[in-house]
């Protein structure tokens, strides 16, 4: 997608690219499961991105989107992910700097309204 071409090359030299999941370096047998893990991780990440579009990582919702990604990965891979870890993973696919916040957000923010306490708050109820 947008940008990030340079990084992809780096990854390929490490032998952990998504593009060659089947070719393990012949010398090290131990790297095979590692590579599979990597592929698994990237697949899950792409799944997560279907729910949480990267473009939302640029706007006011970014922290909750990132939280959503962390939670998704935690659940599907059964381990904790830090925000930085997720961002680094994303960096492989996207150049977040280039993404523009979507206009939906502009919509919320351009529409100024006065605060209004919902009627339900004025009803006395204990719970």
């Amino acid at each position: 997608m947008e940008g990030g071409g340079g990084r992809e090359k780096e990854e390929e030299q490490d032998g952990v690219s998504v593009h060659s999941p089947c070719k393990a370096p012949p010398s090290s047998a131990s790297s095979l499961p590692k590579e599979q893990q990597q592929v698994e991780l990237e697949l899950r990440l792409l799944e997560a991105l279907e729910i949480y579009p990267p473009v939302k990582l640029r706007g006011m919702h970014r922290h909750f989107v990132l939280y959503g990604l962390m939670e998704f990965l935690r659940r599907s891979l059964d381990r904790q992910f830090s925000p930085d870890e997720v961002l680094q993973l994303l960096d492989r696919f996207y150049n977040l700097e280039v993404l523009k916040p979507d206009d939906e957000e502009m919509d919320i923010l351009s529409h100024e309204e006065d605060f209004c306490l919902p009627q339900s708050y004025f009803v006395k109820e204990e719970s």
Binding site: M70, S82, F115, Y121
Partner: protein, 332 residues
């Protein structure tokens, strides 16, 4: 499936010959203002002509789409551009009644909120409201246009709503009372929160993080991210939706340049954010499980506010107007 209702009228005769009494279907008259389904939305339209074709009433409608300055409807306008006027069956039309206008607005709202949730995942939680909106249409369709689908069906079907899964944030009752007092001070007594506040929103968030890490023994990443999210929402939302009208001038005076409101305002305004929280979160298509967890964490934060209510919140607001933030005004 049918591309245009016009072409299909020829084949309709076979399927709907016996059971469609034509008299019963001419419910709309020429010149009548109606509401018409087009794509996922309902638009105002005017019936230009009504014709009985193959025992079925067809209406030539002209869409009356007003531009309300909403970018989203503009997207749809682009789509509409080729079909400002078209022949449609009665199944596409509704009477222009108050009730139906409400349906229209509900759909509009839903479309707006839901623009970006393409994943079919949420389709399983079919929104009741849109089903309702369709329910009576469904009846009409069965009698009037049996075996025929209006072309926009898929559009309406896809319309699933994140409104439906609005996160519920139960605000503790003493904090609710706080919100009512806040309302009373500002809107009824013409008083203001004296700014800057101490502790400010940033201080409170930091205190909570400390409290949480002490309690859990570890610094949890997810809490940190949520707190950042709260801060970000607060800064963006404050001028747009968290101020009473009477507080706007004060905002202009106090929040200068790129100062972050979270360093100036305090618990009083932060609490208002939680009233708006579900609305804001609806823009993020969060999965059910995650939403539940998030909800719990937000409630835990609210409990923390409640526990510290007496130190975080002002018990009296500043009565002297015109002393915004400068502290030169005398208290009564």
């Amino acid at each position: 499936m049918g591309s245009s209702s016009k072409e299909e009228t020829a084949t309709d005769a076979d399927t709907s010959s016996g059971d469609t009494p034509p008299s019963n279907s001419n419910v709309f008259s020429e010149g009548e203002r109606v509401l018409a389904y087009h794509g996922p939305r309902i638009y105002e339209a005017k019936v230009q002509k009504a014709e009985l074709r193959k025992k079925e009433w067809k209406y030539f409608v002209h869409y009356l789409v007003s531009i309300k300055g909403k970018q989203k409807s503009l997207l749809w306008l682009g789509h509409l551009a080729n079909s400002w006027d078209e022949w449609v069956g009665a199944d596409r039309l509704m009477k222009h009644t108050e009730e139906n206008v409400i349906k229209q607005q509900a759909l509009d709202k839903k479309q707006g909120v839901d623009k970006s949730s393409k994943s079919g995942r949420s389709a399983q939680t079919k929104p009741k409201s849109s089903a309702d909106a369709k329910a009576d249409k469904e009846d009409l369709k069965n009698t009037v246009a049996k075996g025929k689908k209006r072309k926009s069906d898929s559009g309406v079907e896809k319309d699933n709503s994140s409104m439906e899964k609005l996160v519920k944030i139960q605000i503790p009752s003493t904090l609710k009372k706080q919100l009512v007092d806040d309302w009373e001070f500002v809107t009824q007594q013409d008083k203001l929160v004296k700014l800057p506040r101490s502790p400010n929103v940033d201080d409170i968030l930091t205190k909570y993080l400390e409290y949480r890490s002490k309690k859990d023994g570890t610094m949890t990443d997810s809490i940190g991210e949520i707190l950042k999210g709260i801060r970000c929402y607060f800064d963006k939302a404050l001028p747009v939706m968290l101020l009473y009208k009477k507080e706007r001038q004060q905002y202009q005076d106090v929040v200068l340049d790129d100062v972050s409101p979270s360093t100036i305002y305090g618990a009083e305004h932060l609490l208002r954010l939680f009233v708006k929280f579900p609305e804001l979160l609806a823009y993020v298509n969060i999965e059910e499980e995650t939403l539940t967890r998030l909800q719990q964490k937000l409630m835990d934060f609210l409990k923390f506010l409640q526990k510290n209510q007496s130190t975080f919140f002002l018990s009296a607001y500043d009565g002297s107007r015109g002393s915004e933030g400068k502290g030169k005004g005398k208290d009564d």
